[in-house]
């Protein structure tokens, strides 16, 4: 569909009018500056969660190991693969954005499916644990397990809502620079949800 044409000097190219001038060093801020304040802030809060998990382990390694043994790690592994795959679809969707084909919206749709899959598996895990007699009041491990995975799940649900908007945005025949920027910010948020799980998963399920 897309035909490469040589840009005419002095004529602003379609969709780049509101874009900042390119930097001399060729670098660019992914998304936008303000987003990174939020992303790094959120990641710092999760770093405290990560530390809290290991402090809890240090206080009572036997309790930590036996509680961890009750989890369903393979469900967590499938969820990790789902998040990573959702990230891959987001990357390819972003690449196809505005190319005049439905590819981008379909790829974002696949990301949404991975999000549904993650939520369904997490719900299954919670149900299994509660049925087996474990809940947030069982001990410190389970309290942090439910609180931290719950907060992460809330992030994922917000990510899924953003992906719904990405699907709608991707259906537009032409994108403004603002819409493109929104899509890029949404993608970065999704990757953050992925990134946080990549540490939360081994800390809760694997590291004894």
């Amino acid at each position: 569909m897309s035909i490469e044409t040589a840009p005419v000097d002095d004529a602003p190219r379609e969709g780049t009018r509101a874009a900042p001038a390119p930097r001399a060093d060729g670098k660019r801020i992914p998304g936008e500056e303000g987003l990174w304040v939020f992303i790094l802030g959120d990641m710092a809060v999760f770093a405290l969660f990560f530390g809290t998990i290991l402090v809890t382990r240090g206080e009572d390694p036997a309790m930590f190991a036996s509680a961890q043994h009750e989890l369903h790690p393979w469900l967590g592994i499938v969820n990790t693969a789902l998040l990573l795959t959702g990230s891959l679809f987001v990357i390819h969707g972003l690449r196809r954005l505005g190319d005049g084909t439905p590819a981008a919206s379909r790829l974002f749709g696949l990301t949404l499916l991975t999000a549904f899959g993650f939520v369904a598996i997490k719900a299954t895990e919670y149900t299994l644990l509660v049925d087996e007699g474990f809940n947030g009041g069982t001990n410190d491990f389970f309290m942090y397990y439910f609180v931290f995975t719950g907060i992460h799940l809330a992030h994922l649900v917000i990510g899924a809502i953003i992906v719904v908007f990405l699907i709608r945005t991707a259906r537009r025949p032409k994108l403004t620079p603002g819409q493109r920027k929104f899509a890029e910010c949404g993608a970065i948020y999704w990757h953050m949800v992925d990134l946080l799980w990549l540490v939360l998963f081994p800390l809760l399920y694997l590291i004894r």
Binding site: R23, R28, A44, L54, P73, I77, A81, I207, R208
Partner: protein, 89 residues
């Protein structure tokens, strides 16, 4: 579906991340004996993975130096802090 994608840099990173996830899960679940060494290995692999996500998925490798340094510092400082807590706490 994936066969329609060319195996570009980010797809290659995804393949590595999925493979590393499965392999480290097997190591983590089958661990016997010196759990501290396994724990440190799992922690190190997790932080290699999040650095790859930041650099290649979030495109931090193309970011201006201050932002890249902030993200690299997050990865480095959080990793070191967790290792210290893991070994000392």
């Amino acid at each position: 579906m994936l066969s329609r994608f060319p195996v570009d840099r980010q797809t290659a990173v995804w393949m590595f991340l999925v493979a590393a996830t499965v392999l480290t899960a097997v190591v983590g679940l089958e661990q016997h004996g010196d759990t501290a060494a396994v724990g440190l290995l799992l922690l190190a692999i997790a932080f290699v993975k999040i650095r790859l996500v930041a650099l290649h998925f979030m495109e931090i490798r193309e970011a201006p130096l201050p932002l890249r340094l902030l993200v690299e510092a997050y990865v480095g400082v959080t990793f070191v802090a967790l290792v210290v807590i893991y070994l000392v706490a």
